[in-house]
């Protein structure tokens, strides 16, 4: 392995043929980092027939692209070994991946294969006099860890850590097509098919008012309260993971890191404590109101308005108020 450059690489994720918003977040931040380090920002684009995607990656100085049939659907082995091959000549100072299903697989495997160190769950990156300082989130958000990186490092970055707008570009970047490693043809890991969730009723990402329920709802029948309120406001009911895991609502209603990311005009969180995985899915809602019996619930750090109280008292009273106002 040669001496590391000061380049910053960003691994591009493109589910469904569109560059993921998260990748733009990384490109935006990567731009600043590359500048501070005095290197280039390189977008690493692996896939099949993805040349057109390079058009939106103009924030980068360069797009390193590998086009191969076996890279069409993501598998950790194929993508990690391809990135390793790309890094054979010059390993970048930083490789930014999303802390996503694909990103964490790629990063971990790559880190051991090259080998190159890695840091996970990063939410802040600064350059201080040529040194890179990262802040990672641990233990469900209860702890933050500030680290000084020693050399080349792979980073997995939390969604929403940086603004996506900074990474958008209307022009493309120069594309350098690289050959896929020879072994790729014989790669034994295959994606057989994509499983979509059963066709569901409501697409909560399109609804502008969401009533979200968490563990505090206690019983399945109490969902009725949320449904009533949603009905009054012409909105829909969604939930955090624990409620979905119980089977009280279908997967399509799950908001959070492994569910949907929503940006409604109103997000009314009932009995949701505010675990980081959930916040990831709704923190950018326009108006967040949280109702919880626990004054210390983390949701109150993200909400615009908070009510410390029993939802079974507050919501009926709210509905009465809303009915009055609507009638008036």
């Amino acid at each position: 392995m040669n001496t590391p450059s000061q380049d910053v690489w960003v691994y591009v994720e493109h589910p469904n043929g569109v560059v993921a918003p998260h990748t733009y977040e990384l490109l935006g931040k990567g731009r600043d980092l590359a500048q501070a380090l005095g290197g280039r920002l390189v977008a690493v684009l692996l896939g099949h027939d993805v040349a057109s995607l390079a058009q939106t990656l103009g924030t980068a100085d360069l797009v390193l692209s590998v086009d191969h049939q076996r890279l069409a659907s993501f598998t950790p082995d194929a993508h990690a070994r391809t990135v390793r091959a790309l890094g054979e000549s010059a390993m970048p100072r930083l490789l930014l991946c999303g802390a996503t299903s694909a990103g964490i697989d790629l990063a971990s495997l790559l880190s051991a294969l090259v080998p190159v160190p890695m840091v996970v769950n990063v939410r802040a990156i600064e350059v201080e006099g040529g040194r890179v300082i990262t802040t990672s989130q641990l233990c469900g958000g209860k702890l933050l860890c500030e680290m000084e990186l020693t050399g080349c490092t792979v980073l997995t970055v939390l969604a929403g850590a940086f603004p996506a707008e900074a990474g958008f570009a209307t022009r493309g970047a120069p594309v350098e097509s690289m050959a896929a490693p020879a072994a790729l043809d014989q790669a034994p890991v295959h994606v057989l098919r994509l499983i979509e969730p059963a066709g569901e009723d409501v697409d909560i990402t399109r609804v502008s008012i969401l009533i979200a329920v968490g563990r505090g709802i206690q019983r399945k029948e109490n969902l009725q309260l949320a449904e009533e309120l949603a009905g009054l406001l012409a909105g829909a009911v969604c939930a955090s993971r624990p409620v979905i895991d119980q089977g009280w609502l279908p997967l399509s209603r799950q908001v959070g890191k492994s569910g949907m990311v929503v940006k409604p005009a109103l997000y009314l969180a009932l009995g949701i404590s505010g675990a980081p995985e959930h916040l990831e899915g709704m923190r950018n809602a326009e108006l967040i109101v949280a109702v919880n019996t626990d004054a210390g619930a983390p949701i109150f750090n993200v909400a615009h308005y908070g009510v410390v109280g029993d939802m079974f008292e507050v919501i009926p009273a709210l509905m009465a108020q809303l009915r009055e106002r609507k009638a008036a």
Partner: protein
């Protein structure tokens, strides 16, 4: 099929986490350890495969933080064997160190399938299964919600993506899989059976030397986050708060 399940002990978040005087590590006075949640799912996934395909399941853990208890519980749930790996520093090594220790033992006792949780709450320098895949040069897929044995002796796994989408992936054994959830919740094992197992079964010990890799990064400080902002809290009896809230919603034009 020989299955190895790797168990990692992580700080129990039920307790208050305190930072020690150095400011770079957790205070261990009230620190308790619990088995990482996704490892519990990995064990359940292994036991499901054992139920269906009469595989043998061996649970392995690094010997720190009540790992023995977790290993006995695994035996009580149905694992065939349990091994603890020693010596290990009291709070456990970092993930790379852990991967190196597990890899050493797994080279001596190869398995067809290595299952472990895809991530743990205190991961900092990597995620265990991916690192292991690279170290052992084995096929690897992570974030799985189901693992099945296929007719040809390989595996078919479902890799989870957001929004309930999943990719069905086939790969040959031997392989490393990073589990996020098992198809059914981890099974319950009665306390009496755990106690019985603790008295009647043995946990094997494997020696491994902790390789101290070059630290990828130096911890400057470990701290508890200050909330960036806080909500405007409404006060008063429920009716009053409801009234205020209704006024806010109306003011924002959200009543239709």
């Amino acid at each position: 099929m020989k299955i190895a399940v790797l168990l990692t002990m992580v700080p129990d978040l039920v307790e208050e986490l305190e930072i020690d005087p150095s400011g770079t590590a957790l205070d261990t006075q009230w620190l308790r350890y619990v088995l990482s949640e996704s490892d519990d799912h990995a064990l359940e996934q292994a036991l499901l495969l054992k139920d269906r395909h009469s595989a043998s399941v061996t649970a392995l853990a690094l010997d720190y933080g009540d790992a023995e208890q977790a290993l006995f519980t695994a035996l009580a749930k149905g694992a065939d064997a349990a091994i603890k790996i020693a010596p290990v520093p009291p709070g456990g090594p970092n993930r790379r160190g852990a991967a190196a220790l597990f890899a050493e033992v797994l080279r001596r006792q190869p398995a067809d399938l290595i299952l472990t949780g895809v991530q743990a709450t205190n991961d900092l320098d990597g995620h265990l299964p991916g690192l292991l895949g690279g170290l052992l040069d084995l096929r690897y897929v992570g974030v799985t919600r189901s693992v099945e044995a296929s007719a040809d002796g390989g595996l078919v796994v479902q890799k989870e993506y957001p929004g309930g989408v999943a990719a069905e992936i086939s790969l040959p054994t031997p392989a490393v899989i990073g589990v996020i959830s098992a198809p059914q919740p981890p099974r319950y094992v009665p306390v009496a059976r755990i106690r019985e197992v603790t008295k009647t079964r043995m946990v094997g010990v494997e020696a491994a030397i902790a390789v101290d890799p070059q630290p990828a990064a130096v911890i400057r400080r470990l701290y508890k986050p200050e909330p960036a902002g806080h909500a405007t809290m409404l006060t008063g009896p429920p009716e009053q708060m409801a009234q205020e809230l209704a006024a806010i919603l109306e003011g924002r034009g959200l009543l239709r």
